[in-house]
Symmetry: C2
Subunit: 289 residues, 2 copies
């Protein structure tokens, strides 16, 4: 199946939305890209850098002739975007998104009155520490996964076309249930981020940090992530993250018990199991697909 | 003050002990280096690579003409080493060590009957993921701190000479109380390591790891550390680490409470405080001296 998009509208022209536009342009599969956003400077950057062909502040106006829409806004903003899309989207247009949580986004779409048969929820697992259209580049999705979480209402045709689009953009696409997606992300992304934040707050004596070395730097790197973005993600996946915090608390409690009873055997067994799990992940290719 | 060591004995000729020997040789301040160890292959490597001039399996024999001894063995082995040193060390010889915990090492030395006036406990905060004499290199201590934790019995002369030795080896030397050292290390090193181990064990579904990316890789890197070494360190600094685990658990509990009550304000405030603390550390030079 070859892909041909007449008019792509990217709502939220930041790193993810902008990189999608650039990747599809480079592949020659899109005729026109309109960027929608609230930040005038960012839209001007996107125009100047050729990320988009034209810009708009009005969703309903922008999408009136679209055949593909990608919603790449913070998950806390998706409800409002879907409400506007539900009012204006042409009947043949497909919708995808790039939100880091999927059950909440699907719920937002459902409540907005959007035609759910045409919405293919997606999460491209890619990003850098930079943001904005100026940070976008066409290779962002290469060697990264994009997870689709279609609902029971999503049409097979929509899934096929949106899958093709993310593949042409460079991603390796997998499909799973939104609940499974949210649980996996709670484990491998949300729990580590919240733990890094918690650790920085637990260490009250900041003078101590001057003795810290590479291990501390790497362990706490994700504590420098955007607080706003992580508040949004946390609120949208609260139940799954709570469960994972519980599991971590149980492990920490058993380490503390072993420390207090000077039980070297338990410590060695726990540390060995952890090292084996991580080394096996690395040996299997680590974060490469 | 210029430094001149006639006979340095390195007990434990691994990465740390070997690198100290190489650094002092390169600086031209040591005439002869004897390496002591139990691993024949490692001692042969050390001889072949010029890390040491001769090798021995017998501490008492090796140190009989030493004027400087560095104990660079796992902290769990230091008690036995000190007992042998107490029996054989010439009266003019100085002793230092390289253990990651200091109160336990000082206690071991004290109980061994060693002349405490000549022992200058030290912790060079340096290392790589490799071990053994073959991994040693003379620049290991450059741009790294070495913390001295002398006791009330340590002589001023011994402190001055051992300080000079670690400085000549390339380290930036600071002096503090052993208890303060152990608390700082519990914060910036021991807690992060035990948390990384705990996190790997909390995540039972290893299939999930294939979706993990760079953040997970960096956060869990230290979970690939040596389980034996970390059991030893944990047992030797158990009280301080327990306190830090407690503090982390309190922070995790408050995040979980905020998640469950959908309190975005608390989450934002916590995440922002954490990010500010880490960004301030980075801005102040991070892990560079």
């Amino acid at each position: 199946m070859s892909l041909a998009i007449q008019h792509l509208v990217v709502i939220g022209t930041g790193l993810i939305g902008g990189s999608l536009a650039l990747a599809l342009k480079q592949a020659g599969v899109v005729k026109r890209v309109t960027g929608v956003g609230r930040n005038v400077q960012n839209l001007q950057d996107a125009l100047r850098l050729g990320v988009i062909d034209d810009a708009s502040h009005h969703i309903q106006e922008a999408v009136s002739h679209a055949d593909m829409v990608c919603v790449a806004v913070p998950v806390s903003a998706s409800a409002q975007v879907f409400r506007e899309l539900a009012l204006a989207l042409p009947h043949h247009a497909l919708i995808t998104d790039a939100g880091s949580t999927k059950q909440s986004v699907i719920q937002d779409a459902h409540h907005s009155g959007l035609d759910m048969s045409r919405f293919v929820p997606a999460h491209p697992i890619a990003g850098t520490e930079y943001s904005g259209a100026a940070a976008a580049f066409p290779e962002l999705f290469q060697h990264h996964r994009c997870i689709l979480t279609p609902t029971e209402q999503t049409s097979e045709d929509a899934i096929m076309k949106v899958k093709k689009m993310w593949e042409v953009a460079g991603a390796s696409v997998e499909t799973m249930h939104a609940k499974e997606h949210d649980e996996i992300m709670a484990s491998i992304s949300h729990l580590p981020h919240l733990t890094a934040f918690a650790m920085m707050n637990a260490l009250q004596n900041h003078d101590d940090f001057r003795f810290a070395a590479g291990g501390f730097r790497d362990f706490t790197r994700i504590a420098s992530s955007s607080p706003d973005m992580w508040r949004d993600i946390s609120l949208c996946n609260a139940a799954a993250i709570s469960d994972k915090i519980n599991a971590l608390q149980t492990e920490l409690a058993s380490l503390r018990e072993a420390l207090q009873s000077q039980n070297g055997d338990v410590l060695l067994q726990k540390f060995t199991a952890a090292k084996l799990a991580r080394d096996a992940w690395l040996a299997a290719g680590g974060d490469t697909i």
